[in-house]
Symmetry: C2
Subunit: 223 residues, 2 copies
DNA sequence: GCAAAAGTGTTGTCGGTACACCCATGC
DNA sequence: GCATGGGTGTACCGACAACACTTTTGC
């Protein structure tokens, strides 16, 4: 092999997070092909000749979830490039972080024998170096939630402030004072009252809000 | 071309920053080979078969500056992958951010006809998409300086608190109250008095400090 | 003495945290 | 009534910005 022209494959892998059952869940597929056939892994695959890695990540996500580019938060995370990370062939992976709303219908492909959501604290063993990718994605998610409005992407179209708090609380894994949280979100002026309320609960119903804009902002809802 | 097995080259490019002449400067090389022969560009090149992109970035840096891995801050920045970014061949670039101390002796290679430091606000036109890389590196640098102790890597072995302030001030491009800055750095307890003082200046000499540890920390010296 | 940068002390203000308290719904 | 979560008001407290003031050098 000529040193200066190493043959290297380029793939993308996407850590897709959603809030389901009031906890953080991650999307995984069960691989059908070697290496790591039978193992669970992040959705991903080789990039094509005419697309950037971002386009490849969006394509992967659209293939699996049917979600279009507009409704999903996707951000490049890190490029993993250890020469030994793929035992079958030299292949680097440009890992991405994606955040999607709770209601998503999955679509299978022949590359996977199964596709499903896993509670973040109950993940199966993962193929390749995906455990490392997941750890970094988790850390990045925490940082994004703390310092930006990335939680927007995890919410359905309308939600109560209590549900928004649940999102923050699930990602940060700590309790947040709901009273201070409410005030803070309201005074930031980034949500607007949808005019509707929750119904049919055994407690005082909350107002249903929606985001004024889905635009990403470097605004911390916390401190 | 088969869609699933696109032939893609993988390169690294490194945005190397240093503080020289009390301002922020960037290391550039003048390319000798097409495309963009004669243009200035970030130091970089293809990765080899047996190394990760981080190792390739460190190798580039060692080749150009002689600095070893211990004395340099290097961090992956972003992977640039537009199919049209290199007009000669499909090649993605894993861009890195590097911070080095002021006293560095450069070493030329045949890949470049010149190698030198440029004041950040007086950069020449750059080849490839390196202007975009530089912009992102600059933004990342600002964020690192604000939220971590990354400035450590820009300082010589000993320095006065005034010089440390100059570093922050040059990167953030704003004035900082030197009195509050002093107190803050001292009370953080991350520097220690070297016992020596500045000499030969037309004003009160400052104490020379050194960092207790070069370890990267997520500690903000500012607010 | 004067200029310039190194340091120290003090004060006011802003923002977050903690928490007491009331409201609305189903059962 | 009771349980549960929604929502409002307020007081304390610490961190930081602002700035007055002193110190130490070279000329």
């Amino acid at each position: 092999m000529k040193e200066r022209a190493a043959v290297v494959g380029v793939a993308v892998d996407v850590a897709v997070f959603a809030l389901r059952n009031r906890r953080l869940e991650l999307l995984l597929g069960r691989l059908t092909r070697a290496p790591f056939a039978g193992h669970w892994a992040l959705p991903g695959g080789r990039i094509r000749g005419d697309e950037s890695v971002e386009e490849a990540a969006h394509r992967e996500l659209a293939d699996k979830t049917g979600l279009d580019t507009e409704r999903v938060f996707v951000e490049q995370l890190h490029t993993f490039s250890s020469p030994s990370r793929d035992p079958a062939s030299r292949c680097i992976s440009v890992a991405h972080l994606a955040l999607v709303p709770p209601a998503v219908t999955l679509r299978m492909e022949d590359k996977y024998s199964a596709l499903g959501w896993f509670a973040f604290h109950e993940l199966p063993p993962l193929g390749f170096d995906h455990a490392e990718i997941v750890a970094m994605a988790r850390a990045r998610l925490r940082a994004k939630i703390e310092h930006t409005n990335a939680a927007w992407s995890l919410m359905p179209p309308t939600f109560t402030l209590g549900e928004l708090l649940d999102a923050y609380s699930a990602v940060l894994e700590r309790d947040i004072d709901s009273r201070n949280f409410q005030r803070r979100v309201q005074t930031l002026g980034l949500v607007e009252d949808s005019g509707r309320m929750q119904r049919g609960l055994a407690h005082r119903p909350g107002r249903l809000f929606r985001f004024k804009s889905r635009r990403p902002l470097d605004i911390s809802v916390l401190t």
